[in-house]
Symmetry: D2
Subunit: 363 residues, 4 copies
């Protein structure tokens, strides 16, 4: 089982509740000899941090990860890397008044059905806070990939009805435009429209859905495994394990439904004496294995469940009640924004794992 | 690794190439005491069989599964159930002329990149033939679920631009309408439009994409696991491991992007003294765990890669060539149709596994 | 769980009951490009076959394995290798009279307690017949190891009180002496004494215990994994999963209890500019990882449970009865003998797996 | 792979080096609703602590475990339990002078061969310090087992040539006698002889081997899994993953080699209308599944590798050198003693895991 573990060879195990002492992740299977500092982790965490822009939750977490094991004299040793991120400023007292209310769109009902007990403070284990651990582990996977010339980026492709128009040829430009946007959207015009909509929606006590796109550049052909460990299956698993994610697609995804085979098939060609495809409708994967073209996919996020608007609900015992989140509750008006670095991290974890596994397939 | 294995406790391992002697599946972890006959398997296989209607591939496989182990005096014994399905009528000679050509949209390029060797006959291991094993194993999972009052159905929701309108309240009616359609589409009007389009497209040597929807009824609340074994993550993994699948969504999926939190949140209510939700936008899952409402999802399938139209391509060595599939090649004009029983099987495997695992969570 | 699967990357799944249609094994994770024929498998099976000598069970199985997948044009393709071994001459009628009796030393009681149902014919799944599948898979692992210059041999070290004196320097001589002995014991004098004892014991309707020793030559230093996947832990797991095995030791094993640290510690030295140890008390492993010295271990097998002597027992319902195996029952007087090729197979599987995994540990 | 993870459903992942900031363990799969405090863990750790008696290492670690997650209002919640144990008094400066020397019987050579890098301080990851994490996790498994009426005890059975004579009928008496002995040996006479020998050996700068025996009482019949997850295979795996363990046996183990089938077979009988066996030579397991009789096994530990005596060795580069551990080095003269609570913990982990898995086997 191990429902808190992800990966085959490059394996992560996360633990911790939103309002406990800390959260953490153990990375088992990172090769020895990789240079790694706490700064590598903290830079990645900073991107995910709330309060980074007015369009995410105003909580100031200032996450500072500590590496507790697996690194010696600045390099990984091949033993498990334990990273711990203390939970600061966790004031759970304000959740007291609503602790016996079922929260629409939340997991407290289902956790109670499953376990009969629930650490309700800040959403406990079901909180998106767990994704900080994924980002920490993902930062290591990214270093490993970068060492192999592979680079991955994610960004906001859509918020509510507003879709960004994005030029994806140049990864450096793409990364810089993404990080310059307060909402990780490399299209400046779309950023303006999106931020305006977010502000309006937030002022109404409501929330918005969004879509995150990711691209992995320079993944060599032949990575990934057939049948049940297909690269797209593992990516789908990774992305659909994120809080609030409701859909995943690779390449043209749902858009391929309306196409004909002759349009959708990517024709093979040679470029610089290397075989590649003229188009990349498949999203860089055929039969679960990378083609050498960029791997691209998208993740749909529902609008944040926690809204300031009053909602009709029930108590745990089934009595009708009204739910009003306490004044000053800190929630993202659009979870998709903060999911951007997490999607990047999950894609990195999946591809790093596949890359390591690939060393075993040929004589 | 084990890229040919799926599941945690109810675990399947499949093997076999399209034009080898046989394909097969080993099911490990099926509880003892379940009544099981070869007929149970063969009925399920018959639904997946090509030649079932003019709208699928005309190959006549007439799959006859044999149970080789794990069943004694009509009941499962708790030991592995080995099912073998012989490959009949496999004439691989006609693939000879094209064996050195890269096939657009196919996996022969990526398998060669990965393994340096490829059993090209009929697509070898990358052929959709492997899914017969999933259907065989799924038939057992379905019996197990049915024993627990859980029923799962899949059907065609869309082909190319034509979307079916489907009444999902009554599972018996839904199943019967689905099975009466030659293309597993319970909407008779849509069926007519779809079959007309399929015939036209086929005559042009082309192919179509499609969408399959599934619903699992009466899954009790509390099934599934948080974080990395979320029910929707495992379903996504299952579906995205299918040949030609390009997207997965749960509940409203990509449709939830354009919604606001106050619209999307399913409000809790009581019905017959049981807590449920008024709407089911979430698709029956919150935080990775079932809510007790129907679990619904959708899978996008690209248009079949094998088309009769001539295509520009390369040889394995990178020389330009033209690919013309041999006369009499048997290919589905729309893979989504034959994927219907496979999607049903995969959903059954995921939910049966989660159900068994759930026995371990409480004291 | 997957109690019928063994290994991490080089993974086997076995299935089948003693008196079913067949038994089989699926090998997942064998690298592509390895030359493999059915003959490779059948030669290994011939060594395990009963009837090979008068000192093993006189059943004539004449196992003929068939490869059903994973091999193309004489080489492995990286896809699962399915091997099926039909069960011939399986006459289960003679087990009818004793099917409701608990058999001392057998698993029918425990299977019934666990599953509530038991395929009693020939011991069903609990029969040592399953080990033929291990030998078949082991034959492939041995080819892979041999390709890497690693060679493994097992032989009888002890039967009852008779211990063999064995010269282990030269693997070719050791293998030849082992295969010349009708009981896999390279010491000819011990062979004589052992065979005499076996004949006497058999004539009394009784059985004997024994010990099998194995040595893996030329395993490079650095193979194996620390903590929970230690090479000796995986070897112990492998050997203690064999029917009738009751003990495992590595290096000096239980003999090291009576030693002092200064005696037991193997001192480092150089030979041909390579670091090795002067002695090899550790059995070629330190901290779970190979030292480069031969890996040596031993497995204890209890005397065969099935004896012709009458035994007091109970029926399944708990009524007192007497158990007399039917005339002509075919049982090994000493299971350790037939376990020799199985121990060799299991050691090969463990070391092949560790070798493949080792490719992932360094940058 | 995950070489730092153990277990199937009740799963532990450990991390940390001997002289890092801390060591820790994440327990994933503990059922919800179990009462648990830090005191439960610390009591178990106190038994393992060095300095507990003059016969173990005089280091004063005073381990204080902290629970960081998975427990809410005094009960487990079903989410991962993270336990962290700070490393106190870790002075690694004295290892500086010997950091480039290969240490006979130690893992620094093999870790360097495998990873190319090694955190040598205090043995790093290869240190027995890691076993404190096993004891912490084992304390939870023991609570779970105790809740199910199952009790497990381990004790010293032998040190060097001195064997204890132990009455195992009454677990309460056995436990109390064990804990009264400074070396966990319930036989007071043997304790005297053993402690005298330990003192003498220690004064000579040498070390001793030993044997630990364990018994699990009241494990119901039907627990454990056939073939590759046999209870004895998992126990063997667990015990052989311990530092310095060289052998494992179940029931009569190596002693069964010299027996005949008619002696070794445990005959079935009824007691209080329940089926059990007259003798328990099998050690409570048949075919990998528990019989309902006490499960008993033994583990052989080599003499401690770290001795104060000067030893001939090599530098990492292969130059001859002499190794003299620094004055005041703290090492156990007999590792078997401190292994007693660790063996108890590992047996508890294996049986708890099997117990949980057993809920999945029957309809």
């Amino acid at each position: 089982m191990a429902s808190n573990t992800f990966g085959n060879v490059f394996k992560i195990t996360t633990w911790g509740e939103s309002h406990g002492k800390a959260i953490g992740v153990v990375i088992d299977g990172c090769p020895a000899g990789l240079e790694l500092t706490e700064n590598d982790i903290n830079e990645a965490l900073a991107l995910r941090a709330p309060g980074r822009s007015p369009y995410t939750s105003p909580r100031i977490e200032a996450d500072q990860a500590e590496i507790f094991s697996g690194v010696f004299e600045g390099k990984t040793t091949g033993t498990p890397i334990s990273i711990i991120i203390p939970n600061k400023h966790a004031d759970s007292s304000k959740y007291e008044p609503i602790k016996d209310l079922l929260r629409p769109g939340h997991a407290n009902f289902t956790y109670l059905e499953k376990y009969g007990v629930f650490d309700y403070r800040g959403g406990g284990r079901s909180s998106a806070r767990e994704t900080a651990c994924r980002v920490a582990a993902g930062a290591i996977a990214k270093k490993l990939l970068s060492h192999n010339g592979i680079h991955i980026i994610a960004y906001i492709k859509q918020i509510s009805g507003i879709e960004a128009i994005i030029e994806t040829q140049n990864i450096e430009k793409l990364r810089s435009a993404t990080h310059q946007s307060p909402i990780f959207c490399p299209d400046t015009q779309a950023t303006s429209a999106m931020t305006a909509l977010i502000e309006k929606t937030k002022s109404e006590g409501n929330s918005l859905g969004g879509m995150v796109e990711f691209i992995a550049f320079s993944v060599p052909a032949g990575i990934g495994d057939p049948i049940y460990q297909k690269l797209e299956a593992n990516l789908a698993h990774a992305m659909m394990s994120l809080p609030a994610s409701k859909g995943f697609e690779i390449g043209l995804g749902f858009g391929s439904i309306a196409m004909q085979g002759s349009e959708h098939n990517d024709l093979f060609t040679t470029k610089n004496h290397k075989i590649e495809t003229e188009t990349n409708n498949s999203g860089g994967i055929l039969g679960g294995i990378s083609t050498g073209m960029p791997i691209t996919g998208r993740v749909a996020f529902k609008p944040t469940s926690s809204i300031m608007k009053e909602q009709k609900t029930l108590t745990i015992e089934g009595k009708e009640e009204s739910l009003q989140l306490p004044e000053g509750s800190r929630h993202d008006p659009c979870v998709a924004i903060r999911a951007v670095p997490v999607v990047e991290a999950m894609a990195s974890l999946v591809i790093a794992d596949a890359l390591l596994l690939n060393r075993c397939v040929k004589l």
